[in-house]
């Protein structure tokens, strides 16, 4: 039986009727029209479904939509709303991404890292990103872009 929940998605309030067995990932994609979090494995292993829930990255495939009732969700669409951030620009400048499927998850995870730790070491960057699988790039250009932003002073809110 469906119930109404309210989600704040990228600053907008959404009221949707969901069944308890629908995941946050499914509801974001199918009902709210937010496509950047991806379906990659539905077990929380690949990180491509990552969203920021109340300020922390979570695997949205392992969150029931009903759990997010009354909570705030930030995705890359929200991050990019007023122009891309310095971090996104660094990924662009370094041609970090290839197929781009892992990119939204990586961007949110790296954003969370830089918000907590503006000058991470290479080890800390790798550790933060360990839950975001990428098959294309070999990770090096992704790590390099994050480190460059880290060196500049961790400016990742406005580009």
């Amino acid at each position: 039986m469906k119930r109404e929940i309210t989600l704040n998605v990228n600053g907008e309030e959404w009221t949707v009727a969901v069944a308890p067995n629908e995941t946050l990932l499914e509801v974001l994609r199918d009902r709210v029209g937010i496509k950047s979090p991806k379906i990659g494995c539905e077990r929380g292993d690949c990180g491509s479904c990552t969203v920021i829930l109340d300020g922390k990255t979570v695997r949205s495939c392992l969150v029931l939509a009903v759990e997010a009732d009354g909570h705030g969700v930030l995705t890359v669409e929200g991050l990019s709303r007023d122009g891309i951030t310095g971090l996104q620009q660094a990924f662009l400048d370094k041609n970090s991404f290839q197929c781009g499927f892992c990119a939204p998850g990586v961007i949110l995870t790296a954003s969370e890292l830089l918000a907590k730790n503006p000058h991470p070491s290479e080890h800390e960057v790798k550790e933060a990103l360990a839950g975001n699988l990428c098959r294309c790039t070999g990770y090096t250009p992704i790590i390099d872009a994050v480190l460059e932003v880290a060196e500049r002073g961790g400016v990742e809110d406005d580009g």
Binding site: G33, R43, L79, I84, K126, N132, R135, I143
Partner: protein, 780 residues
Amino acid sequence: MAELKYVGSKATRIDGLPKVSGSATFVDDIDFGPGLLHAAIVESPHAHARIVSIDKSEAEAMPGVVRVVTGDDFPYRFGLYMKDRHIFAMDRVRFVGEQVAAVIARDLKTAQRAAALVRVKYEELPALFDPMEAVGEGACLLHPDMCDCERVPWFFPEEDTNIAHCRRTRKGDVGRGFEEADVVLEDTYTVPRYAHCAIEPHVVVGLYDQSGRLTLWSASQSPHTQRNLFAETFAPLGLSHKDIRVVTPYVGGGFGGKAGVTMEILGAALAVAAKGRPVKLRWTREQEFYNTYQRQAVTAKLKVGAKKDGTLTAIEHVLYWDAGAYVEYGANVVNAVGLSATGPYRVPNVKIDSYCIYTNLPPGGPYRGFGYSEFHFGLESHMTRIAHELGIDAVEFRKRNAIREGDTLPYGAKMNPSGLAETIDRAAEAIEWGSEVEPSGPGKAVGKGMALMWKAPAMPPNAASAAFLKFSEDGSVNVTVSGMEIGQGYMTAMAQIAAEVLTVPPERIRVETPDTDRNPYEWQTVGSHVTWGCGNAVRDAAIEARDRIFDVVNRARGVPVDALYLEGEKVKSRLDPGFELRLRDFVIYGIQMEDGTFRGGPIMGSGMFMPEFTSALSDPATSQGGHPNVHYTVGAAGIVLEIDRETGKVEILKAALAVDVGKAINPDLVEGQITGGLLQGLATVLYEDMRFDESGRLLNPNFTDYKIPTAMDTPREMIPIIVEVPQPDGPFGARGVGEHTMIPAAPMVANAVEDAVGVRIKSMPITAEKIALAIRDAST
């Protein structure tokens, strides 16, 4: 050649912004409205069984279910090189997970629940999982009617066996070659199956509308090949190619797994079954592992002879491929290897037998490297071993025997220009070959290993590329091609090529993802050939557009065509430095004459490239006489690794890979292939470990237990090296690179492990477990 402005630059990817902003659309992101139906598959739990009966009644009765379909609804064969598959299993199933039926429903959860209610009765048959058993005495035949299957004329199934094809190459006389040798080394190497693990799973949406138009949106590397296969397969429905449309947006990684046709045929069938309504089928990660192409396993028996001065005299390479339940694509992997399994060496006497063997495991198919990673593991391990037996340095040995331009290939044709010697020198230098590295502590050991590689695109002899190009009012350009952007940066490379010819910067060029209605033909985005093949087509299209520009300017302003040139998006004249016309001023609207009339109009161009020098015809017993491969890309790689003797764990200190790409259209993109491909190759040797149980069921169809590298698993230092010996028939001298960077990874690790701890491991993967236990056993 004049200084290049755009080709050769590290231009920002033209698809970069969509990908970092989250606006890049993949198939699963496309909305089809509330009428979208969803499908779930009923799968075989058995590796080999006769289907006795299928009872769909309970499933059909569930509210929300639209239709349940089985093999009988689509009794058509399909396949790329050999039509040995049905859409759904017909009379029997041949691997665990094979599709037997599908439920189409109003929502996915209903479809899943209903699929669980389809009752299938099976009668189990003996199953074969080992290719050596499958070719043994009395093995049951998995495809008794194999020889009746439509296939390309250069495949040779062996009647009354499970051998779907054997590629035999004979050059010279290996018997004599071994007699001449001072050292002959013989051994067997085994490589298991591997999964592509693109992060985007396969997905397809099909719509067979009420006008009889079939449209597929698929995550595919091969939209035109898919369209062709759908047209052939569904010919009984009376569909012509013009009635079938395949649309492929961005693809989240392919690596070969999204080439050809796998689950997309189900999308087409389900669309037909639900006429008038779109149907989506999305593969779960589990299905992605066990019901898409897998990289075939191989047992390779190698015998190599060399003289004491290091000259190779003979290579005999017999490969038994576990090709899986259906070989419609995988047989070409076996074929490609059968032509090239000598590696990049000059060898006068060659014998290669490459057997494609049916087994009751998931179908084998194209995977980055196309069989070359698999055979290089044994070959490059073996080459180091022979060098050691001869007392010759392993790099020196390779340099002595490295193939050169003009040398005769195993099948008789000639080797293309190559910078192999330079790649060897630079890779060896990058890892300081020949000098020792101190381990970081007691209980650790450091080793170095090198490996060479080569690979040619394995394509039919008439694999073509085409491109359309048009200007817009502001002088920006659209290029439409049917190559796929699967991450490699192909669209950017095409833009850079067009940019170079037209002097329009890449950021003012759009390259559109394929739509078979609008974009001209591309055979497939496989084989690392589209930069070369489609690059030529795009260059030709740009040249045609440029020629038309010059023609218009000539007609309107009287300047001779051969005095005209393009610079900075303007037409200029060598005869008059003051003459210039901005492209944007006339590429749509034409050039106005004094009398107010206009000359010209919208400027467009088209280009097509098909290699007219390749042929698959050759002597079936020796493969001599053909020219099946357009060119080889070669390279060399080296690795420095440290092993913890107790745990067997490996840390990669340094990995260097040098590849001769002819001309790097965009060095960043080439480096991306190097870092990405090398890590994928290292993953196959260090981490990935596919496990089947005795009944043929895949035990680890997920990332929890099939480990691919994470950001924490990257080598400490990665050194990409680009060598450029031009490919004469490539755009600006470019040759393909994409698959090649995986190929040397496994053997160079095997060589480095031996260097470090004195243990030679001849089977993959070479996990920490294997190393630790081998070290332990060697010391007792």
